[in-house]
Amino acid sequence: MIGYEKRVFESEFGKRVVHIVRISFDELKKLDIKPVLARIPEKKKNLFKLLAPLEE
């Protein structure tokens, strides 16, 4: 089961709003939890340029 819960914790400093997504281990058998990389600009240096100074 995948559930969502919003809880509010009161304290002397003020309240805290907490958001919780719960996924049971049973449900997890059908699911993948995985990290992903966001799209970021390509910035690889050209290999030729990288080696060029050493060829001189």
Binding site: I2, Y4, K6, R7, F9, S11, E12, F13, G14, K15, R16, V17, V18, H19, I20, V21, R22, I23, S24, F25, D26, L28, K29, K30, L31, D32, I33, K34, P35, V36, L37, A38, R39, I40, P41, E42, K43, K44, K45, L47, L50, L51, P53, L54
Partner: protein, 428 residues
């Protein structure tokens, strides 16, 4: 409302000088951050260069000939750029500008979740987000720490950081650093052991190869061939004596000329500047996915407080256990995985009872996690990055007021997502 530091000219925002840019940010009631000022300056430069201009017909800002980096910075500024309509005599905030489509290259959590057709997602590890964190080799939004997807290490761990490991057996929390890596450069495999503040290895009992991170020095001054590595790429090979150590990478120093030539020849033959990483410990544990963040807060129900986990110079070097902020957490209980965020309206000028939510220190966070029933928990990137998405809906209130472009995320997908994606195509 008058806004100091801004003047209208051809319907384009102009920020007249640096000091006034400061005033602008303060007047908007936001906390002054160096990255805000830096980005405002980028906008100013783009306007001056004619790269950013307002299209009257389309009623939107347009960008031409900007670099991907400039586009990425603009994306984060999209709700802060203001323009003044010529028809209004008085200065007036008209509307936020810059549509997301203008800025390719970077993504927020919602975009990541949608692209991956994920059921849920939470922001992941730390990334370079401040100008002072960028050396000439690094770039904004470069991820910090291990990122391993489907058994491939996409980004290496550099400093010792708490890490989530997802294996075929289950989920566990561990710490990893550059010392755990075996690094293949060309065809030469290198493993390193710590020796005082620098990391050294004896190769073939004759050739000594050293590895330097920011923990050693900001600049390296040694004779020999240096291979500068950031992420999975060699970004520079040099025999110059002085070389800058990347904030989020390392330099491999090879003193023996013959060995350096051999490695360079191997790189040429392989026709790639990529390096390949492996971690024996992860292979033994059959780890499939891994992502670093930190610190680990709970392990087997017990509190863990390791402030030494944070390296200097790169995020989360600023994190302290006693500072309140928006938080994101990955946790497990007896029978569940939990994705958790804590909101922080960051309105510290208000009375406690007037505030929507005050965020949490890491100590307070540990207490909340125990109350929720967590047994194992790790802190993820927080602050304005803190975002939680379920069923294509943002559940928390991100403190920037908009979704920040992040570097990595942790998502929940159907196990057979590849098949699922293709089925969906056929249904359409």
């Amino acid at each position: 409302m008058g806004v100091r530091g801004l003047e209208s000219k051809d319907n384009v925002l102009v920020i007249s000088k640096e000091d006034d840019a400061n005033a602008f940010i303060e007047e908007e009631g936001r906390i002054m951050l160096s990255r805000d000022l830096y980005r405002v300056q980028v906008v100013k430069r783009l306007i001056e260069k004619g790269k950013l201009f307002y299209d009257n017909q389309m009623d939107e800002f347009k960008l031409k000939n900007a670099t991907l980096q400039e586009e990425a910075i603009l994306k984060e500024l999209k709700s802060k750029i203001i323009y003044f309509s010529e028809s209004n005599e008085k200065e007036q905030v008209v509307k936020p500008t810059l549509p997301i489509t203008l800025c390719s290259g970077y993504e927020n959590l919602m975009e990541i979740v949608k692209r991956n057709k994920a059921i849920a997602g939470i922001n992941g590890g730390y990334f370079l987000n401040f100008p002072e964190e960028i050396s000439k080799y690094d770039a904004f939004n470069d991820p910090v720490g291990l990122l391993m997807i489907n058994k491939h290490i996409i980004n290496p761990p550099i400093f010792k950081r708490g890490t989530i490991l997802v294996s075929e057996e289950g989920i566990e929390l561990d710490t990893l650093s550059v010392l755990d890596l075996e690094i293949k450069v060309g065809n030469t495999k290198l493993g390193f052991k710590e020796n005082s503040s620098e990391v050294k290895v004896k190769l073939n009992s004759e050739s000594e190869v050293s590895l330097y991170t920011l923990s050693y020095a900001r600049n390296l001054s040694e004779d020999g061939t240096k291979f500068v590595v950031v992420g999975k790429s060699i970004v520079e090979i040099t025999e110059e004596r002085e070389v800058e150590v990347p904030r989020n990478g390392f330099v491999i120093l090879v003193k023996e000329r013959e060995l350096a030539r051999k490695i360079i020849d191997e790189i040429k033959e392989a026709k790639t500047n990529s390096v390949i990483y492996s971690v024996n410990r992860l292979e033994e544990k059959r780890v499939v996915h891994g992502i670093s963040a930190g610190p680990i807060l709970l392990k087997d129900g017990k509190e863990v407080k390791n402030e030494e986990e944070f390296g200097k110079g790169v995020p989360p070097s600023r994190i302290k256990f006693n500072v309140r902020a928006p938080r994101s957490v990955f946790a497990t209980s007896e029978d569940e995985v939990l994705l958790i965020t804590i909101d922080d309206d960051r309105k510290t000028e208000l009375k406690p009872e007037e505030r929507y939510s005050i965020g949490a220190t890491l100590d307070e966070l540990i207490e909340i996690l125990k109350n929720i029933g967590c047994k194992n928990a790790i802190n993820l990137d927080g602050g304005g990055s803190s975002t939680l998405v379920l069923s294509n809906e943002v559940k928390n209130k991100p403190s920037d007021g908009f979704l920040r472009a992040i570097s990595t995320a942790l998502i929940v997908t159907l196990r057979n997502s590849f098949v699922y994606r293709h089925l969906k195509k056929f249904e359409l």
